[in-house]
């Protein structure tokens, strides 16, 4: 009897209402953190009051590895950075090293490089759309996007033998010309893909639930986006027109015609619209590459051992995630003295706190999805 009374009094004291900060540990094993990202959320009710990211679970010391192997040997390691769009990383590395030399890269090689880079943009954006929509609850988009992504990976396999880590390019051009079958398959893909983009848009663009979950959430202004060093679709969705394919054209981009889409509000919905439009522009670029593809060699003469002159360069390209750059210090030997990777995911993720403050906890998942991070590149 006495015990029951005591427990009753305990219940009564605990029913006195009060609020306190609640700490939620999200990840590293959480499906919507897109890899091994741990986010520590401080909540007041359902509102995020503070946020801390814990990264580094996938740190492999790629920059340190780069200092100890030759320039050509580092190529496969770049595949493992942003493994969703591996050929883009390869392109960044080859163009960065080629900046040391005055090699004439054959035009055919440049066109194929641009084409493959755009295919990897499509592969990356499709995986982003699939998982981002799945996070918010749209299952069908996930299945449809993976159907098309499979076709892109088949294209990579036809051309280079690999699907995920393709090791696509070589210093001075390509290892060998792409087979005839690749060009026909690419044309087939380009013919059907625009209607597939239309299908995704049918499911999402005017979908009421999608709009309610994305519009006006995770807003960042253009000025703040520049201040945080954001690049890629994230920056363009905030209305800043900055695309390295235009600002500092590389490969065959000086000869290709495309529009750089920008958003206005800088919210999740605009990022979605910008990336969907980028898919369309990629199709346009690939079609031009296929139409204009010149015949000729695909590789220039390169020395047997590649020894860049003493000096330092910074070279960056427009990856699907943003500005992906290499800062290389050469001491004239076969191995670089220092390789710095400028990772767009790392720098974009740094703005997560800014984007999430004051938002609801359910929107954190949507915001992480809209940044489009790959932890392989973030942690290096």
């Amino acid at each position: 009897m006495h015990e029951i009374e005591e427990s009753n009094s305990k219940i009564q004291t605990s029913t006195v209402t009060g609020t306190e900060e609640f700490v939620v540990n999200m990840g590293p094993q959480h499906p919507s953190t897109h890899g091994v990202l741990r986010v520590i959320l401080h909540l007041e009710g359902e509102t995020v009051t503070d946020l801390d990211c814990d990264i580094g679970y996938l740190h492999r010391g790629t920059e340190k590895i780069g200092e100890n192997i030759t320039y050509s040997m580092f190529m496969p390691y770049t595949d493992r950075l942003d493994y969703i769009a591996a050929p883009s990383n390869n392109l960044a590395w080859v163009t960065a090293v080629e900046k040391f030399f005055d090699w004439e890269i054959p035009i055919r090689a440049n066109y194929i490089r641009s084409m493959i880079a755009e295919f990897s943009r499509i592969a990356s954006h499709l995986l982003w759309l699939a998982t981002h929509a799945l996070d918010i609850g749209a299952m069908t988009v996930f299945l449809w996007c993976f159907r098309e992504r499979e076709m892109v990976l088949d294209l990579f396999e036809t051309a280079f033998g690999g699907r995920l880590t393709v090791n696509a390019f070589r210093l001075g051009g390509l290892e060998q010309d792409v087979p005839e079958k690749f060009l026909t398959l690419a044309q087939e893909f380009i013919d059907i893909f625009p209607s597939r983009i239309q299908d995704y848009e049918t499911l999402l663009t005017n979908n009421r639930i999608w709009i309610q979950r994305t519009r006006g959430v995770g807003i960042i202004s253009g000025e703040d986006a520049v201040d945080f060093g954001l690049t890629g679709p994230l920056l363009r969705a905030s209305g800043v027109n900055y695309d390295l394919r235009r600002a500092k054209p590389y490969a065959a981009y000086p000869f290709l015609d495309f529009v750089v889409p920008t958003g206005e509000n800088g919210d999740i919905y605009d990022r979605y619209i910008v990336r969907i439009e980028e898919l369309r522009q990629s199709v346009k670029v690939i079609q031009q590459c296929l139409d204009q593809l010149p015949v000729g060699p695909v590789s220039c003469k390169t020395p047997r051992t590649i020894k860049p002159p003493i000096g330092e360069i910074y070279h960056s390209i427009e990856n699907p995630k943003g500005e992906f750059g290499f800062y290389i210090v050469s001491d004239g030997s076969e191995a670089p003295y220092r390789v710095r990777i400028r990772p767009p995911s790392f720098i974009n993720l740094a703005a997560l706190k800014k984007l999430c403050m004051g938002e609801l906890v359910a929107d954190v998942v949507a915001i992480i999805g809209s940044i489009d991070i790959v932890l392989g590149e973030c942690d290096r």
């Binding site: 340190k64 520049v226 695309d243 360069i313």
Partner: protein, 197 residues
């Protein structure tokens, strides 16, 4: 949308024309305008200017450590240069030199489509003023340099290790850090800690 892409094309043409000029000129002519303005405003602040192969976008200015903060602020707010974006911040270790550590700041101006690299050289154990109050992107990048090179940034709001575990010893990107052996860790059962600490 279309207008803005046309603007992008224009700036690219500008870059091409201005890039062809300095080829026959001497080395100093790349980015001469920036260096002149800096020397006029802060005499004696810059030590050296170089640009690999005279590339317009490879201009790199070595600064005195104590003038870094004011030069960075000046370049960011300058009405002509407008280096509003800090693209990259990293360090290089030259163990044989008197000042073995170099910290680099890659600045970019979206309006002018122009790049400049600021460099400062440090003694071992010397700290630098933070630039995270000027560019928010410096926050994590300074943490990374602190983590991998052991350079501390005074005034940084949250200077902790970022990629490596908190109890890691030494700084792996230093040249004397071995590739194998030392630095490998034995697993110890972690002490229970409050979440979020």
């Amino acid at each position: 949308m279309a207008d803005e892409s046309v603007q992008g094309e224009n700036s690219e043409v500008e870059e091409e024309t201005s890039g062809s000029n300095p080829e026959e000129d001497s080395k100093e002519d790349v980015g001469r305008d920036i260096v002149d303005v800096l020397e006029g405003k802060f005499p004696g602040s810059s030590l050296d200017t170089e640009a690999f192969n005279n590339f317009e976008d490879e201009l790199s200015i070595t600064l005195k450590t104590d003038s870094l903060e004011e030069v960075a602020l000046f370049l960011k707010d300058h009405e002509i240069f407008q280096f509003t974006m800090l693209v990259d911040l990293t360090a290089v270790n030259y163990p044989d030199e008197d000042l073995p550590l170099q910290v680099l700041y890659q600045l970019y101006s979206i309006e002018k489509n122009r790049r400049v690299r600021l460099k400062v050289k440090l003694k071992e154990g010397q700290s630098l003023p933070t630039v995270s109050n000027l560019w928010s992107s410096a926050n994590w990048m300074e943490r990374e340099v602190f983590d991998l090179f052991g350079i501390s940034f005074s005034g940084h709001p949250d200077l902790r290790r970022i990629l490596l575990p908190d109890d890691w010893e030494s700084h792996p990107m230093l040249k004397n850090y071995p590739l194998e052996g030392k630095g490998e860790r034995v697993y110890e059962k972690p002490q229970r800690k409050e979440i979020g600490e």
